[in-house]
Symmetry: C2
Subunit: 305 residues, 2 copies
Amino acid sequence: MRIVLALGGNALLRPNDDGTVESELKRAKQSLQPIETLLSGREKILITHGNGPQVGNALLRVEASIPKTPPRPLDHLVSDTQGGLGYLLERTVRNLILKNNGSREVLAMLAQVEIDSDKDSFRNAIKPIGPYYSIENKAELERKGWFVKKTDRGLRRLVPSPKPKRVVELEIIRSLFENRVLVITAGGGGTPVVTTERGYEGVEGVIDKDSVASLLACELNATHLIIATDVDNVWVGKEKTPLEKITKDEIKLYYEKGEFPEGSMGPKVEAGIQFLERGGEMAIITSTEKISLALQGEAGTIITN
Amino acid sequence: MRIVLALGGNALLRPNDDGTVESELKRAKQSLQPIETLLSGREKILITHGNGPQVGNALLRVEASIPKTPPRPLDHLVSDTQGGLGYLLERTVRNLILKNNGSREVLAMLAQVEIDSDKDSFRNAIKPIGPYYSIENKAELERKGWFVKKTDRGLRRLVPSPKPKRVVELEIIRSLFENRVLVITAGGGGTPVVTTERGYEGVEGVIDKDSVASLLACELNATHLIIATDVDNVWVGKEKTPLEKITKDEIKLYYEKGEFPEGSMGPKVEAGIQFLERGGEMAIITSTEKISLALQGEAGTIITN
């Protein structure tokens, strides 16, 4: 098997967790222990992961210490979280492999992801990010060049969520993956960049991590794309009927009917469909606890051609 | 040539800079442009770098937003800076290589560095880090388990500066280095870890980046260790006589006489001596502007056997 595994935010943080690194480490271990045999074994695996709560905290920290420390744009903050979470996950995975007497090398590396700067997804700020601000701050926030949106809890900054076009470090990732190194990369969707006449430049946006996972899975000729989330199955309808084995065309119909909410299950299903359309064998959407069973066809939502 | 290049903090930030990422990017470009031919060429190169001001700002940000966001231990903050600075340097280096029509791959990866937990350097907190605190906060700071020291500007936290023993990801770094990938890693000395019966665990400390550079240079059988700093040469004596070509044994005598201040030139000279003692050919201490000339034997302090 050639596997790309996208870990959802809940692999590191759940609703009642306190958000400290101690609880993140505990949660990471708990999330990955059910697949320790897989991690320690012979399959080729790449892991990517979300960074929502962590980049949210990073934004709060930057805001709280201005002007004592300089502002820090979003591309740099995403890179910071690739560093911090990469360390946390690499350590957790390596310890599980050691415990299982596995011999696999583990590496966390930074990924820059080139986005399509012509697409509307880059021009339109749609993704809410960071803290809530009081309504009185509107003018001040807009002076920073931010798009802001009124919500029930106050103003929220919106950033673009551009579509990923290419992972800049792809060739190195590919060679590590082929050599069975367990690569952890493109956390939080990777750091968004565009190419200009001056070379690569960073942009303030957040790429959907499932979309990058799908892109990486296609480029690496993965057989399996596994999207780990907080539920065992994708649901449809008022009765919340869990989807088990389903074809790409069947789930596409549900998708087109609007069964899957934007910003949660929608992008995951879309990533799975895209992967199968570009040559993938199987997309699995399930909880980390059920991944091993799902790979045997006995749990989770399993999408095939 | 097989080169390990350690970039000092001033490659990214100089005394009058405002500390924004815009100025860091400008400074990185300015520091690396003089060696763009080297970066784009056929030599094997690994780059490591400091993170002093950046981890200092990270500590300030954490402090400023407690209790809105949870505390963040030093090993995680060092990893964050490996992420943020790795991105910044990788982008800068890649753009310089593209400009020179080079074909080299560039990668920024996280490094965990195992420290010697038996050594005094781990037990003794000696390295000042982070913001200055008012003297009234002494009891509160000590309740956190911190060592604090009184300075002219207020209280300062002290952390251990343990000696590096082993880079956890060494085998991957070696294989990338041999394949001529330009690896950027172990920023800020790498993230300090110890091994316990539970596997690798992080520790709160800061490893000297020149010491890690020397260790990496030895392990990679580098021929050249280049330590880039803010002066063209190492100085000795009251007349500040610049050292040019010098043998390891000659500079060792100056070192033992206490010519080089701790925390600045001392660790650089020590790293150079250590590299030569373990089989290195040439250690260079100079400014980034003079690296190319120094490699031709025409500038910098050049230490050989």
